[in-house]
Symmetry: C2
Subunit: 302 residues, 2 copies
């Protein structure tokens, strides 16, 4: 179930040509085979039915609810349209689907939701979070409107087009000999350690960003940086860029605003972390790319 990080198995054709056709989109959205995933406060509606959480869709021809935004997510392999709708209600809407409830996507993914469904909800959550925080034009301050099935906003006042934001983040498997550097943020739950990470800035290559973050957060100087894997992370809309980096220095100088602790873990310690027997640290959850970077490293040492 967790051979890959979460949210990396998006199964729909995004149908970009369709997005340009408002009439076709409106017709798609009310088809009986259209599936609409309701969200409330960025939490998707899920059924549990005694097993892993699954999307509690509503069919397009029976969806009647005040929605702030509806986003067209794509067409599934059987030809059915899939959409997401942000419900407007102040109080949590009840009774939409019997026995379903609104659940944080992170929680649903960690509880074993199907990888394709979790990936659909990830794209939806990022798009809906973008709408929720971009209702006004950054260029002129006027209210903007949703367009292109939710993949654009238009400003009727100044004409600016806005597109959903994706924020690249470097996340680093930093190694020195058979040790790797893990840290924990000041507000993290107890015993959580993970790979260091940070948002990329304008004007940086991926290695530039990795070098800056390792230096800033932990005082560690990096040598070679190479790319390993990417993951969309919908909290709210990051692109995780997993890299491997060789440390040239060992001494750790913490930036206390960024990290409460950072330390070098030997391979044997990381194995204990994964086995749940390390006294200090627990492993990053398999939904997170850090889990897979560390697993990759353990396997590469064998």
């Amino acid at each position: 179930m967790h051979d890959a990080p979460a949210f990396t198995a998006f199964p729909l054709d995004r149908g970009e040509l369709l997005r340009r056709d408002a009439g076709a989109l409106a017709a798609l959205a009310v088809r009986p085979d259209a599936r609409i995933a309701p969200f409330w406060r960025l939490k998707p509606l899920v059924r549990e039915d005694g097993g892993a959480p699954a999307i509690a869709h509503l069919p397009g021809d029976r969806f009647e609810h005040a929605s702030t935004e509806v986003v067209f997510l794509g067409i599934d392999p059987a030809g059915a349209p899939v959409l997401a709708a942000a419900l407007d209600a102040e109080a949590e809407p009840a009774g939409l689907v019997p026995s379903a409830r609104f659940m944080e996507l992170r929680e649903a993914a960690a509880a074993g939701m199907d990888a394709g469904e979790a990936s659909i909800l990830a794209a939806a959550r990022s798009a809906l979070a973008w709408h929720a925080t971009h209702r006004f034009c950054s260029q002129c301050g006027a209210p903007s409107t949703l367009a292109h099935g939710g993949w654009k906003r238009l400003c009727p006042a100044c004409g600016t087009e806005h597109f959903p934001r994706v924020s690249p983040v470097v996340i680093m498997l930093i190694t020195r000999g058979d040790h790797t550097l893990l840290g924990r943020g000041p507000s993290w739950p107890e015993r959580f350690y993970s790979c260091l990470a940070g948002f990329m800035e304008p004007g940086e290559t991926i290695p530039d960003a990795a070098r800056r973050e390792a230096k800033e957060e932990a005082g560690v100087v990096l040598g070679e940086v190479s790319f390993l894997m990417s993951q969309p992370w919908p909290f709210p809309s990051s692109l995780m860029l997993g890299v491997r980096a060789e440390a040239l220095t060992e001494e750790i100088v913490l930036d206390p605003l960024e990290l409460a602790d950072a330390r070098w873990f030997s391979r044997a310690e990381v194995e204990a972390v994964f086995a749940g027997t390390h006294p200090l640290a627990r492993a990053p959850h398999p939904v997170a790319v850090a889990h897979h970077l560390l697993k990759w490293w353990l396997e590469s040492l064998r």
Copy 2:
């Protein structure tokens, strides 16, 4: 000079800790050794002096000009602060530095500007372009204010923090046997062909985005996708993610909104393109990552 794509040689320490200290920043900016790079309408001021364009800096203690935004770019290896300032004037400001002029950064980089200087201007241009288009809070529509030396904006009305946008773009060396796929946009100058590219969307991995773009723009289905190199591209603030992809299909079906033409070029043809002897196409400029993807491919075939 062009062994790497442009804008990949940023030589400053970005001094993120300093950014948090408004008093220290204000003192840095007026030091005699501080260098301020003026911009007007996103064009940097450059000297030519008969050679390649170079930044026409003003010293911090002599910089007196109405500026909309000043961005702290970092500290150079000699300890001197480097900043950029967007000049407010309606008409092009003259006489700031004798014989200097405002020039498009793309033009300056193509004319052989030092790689470190071009990279400094790239970070500056992206940050200044972000300020110019984000003077209002996307959350509530109120005017926002510059903070953290230009690496943040704050909304005094609703308290939202905004950070400079970096938009990831996949750019693809698509190959099939000894052929590669190049295309040209509908508005491109004559004979310009390059690798296909497109903005990533929320919910995508890098291979997802490559597959979607190749299918949408040219109807080509991709197999394996692997990462090659990244480049910041300051027009206005992209992160180019150069990938190699194997095509599983050959037939080209153009999306005429995206491409005026796309075709398969053999290795011999790409060599002719670089030699300037191809009847149809000219090579992407060495400032662009596409140039380096194609060069990498030619060399990998040797």
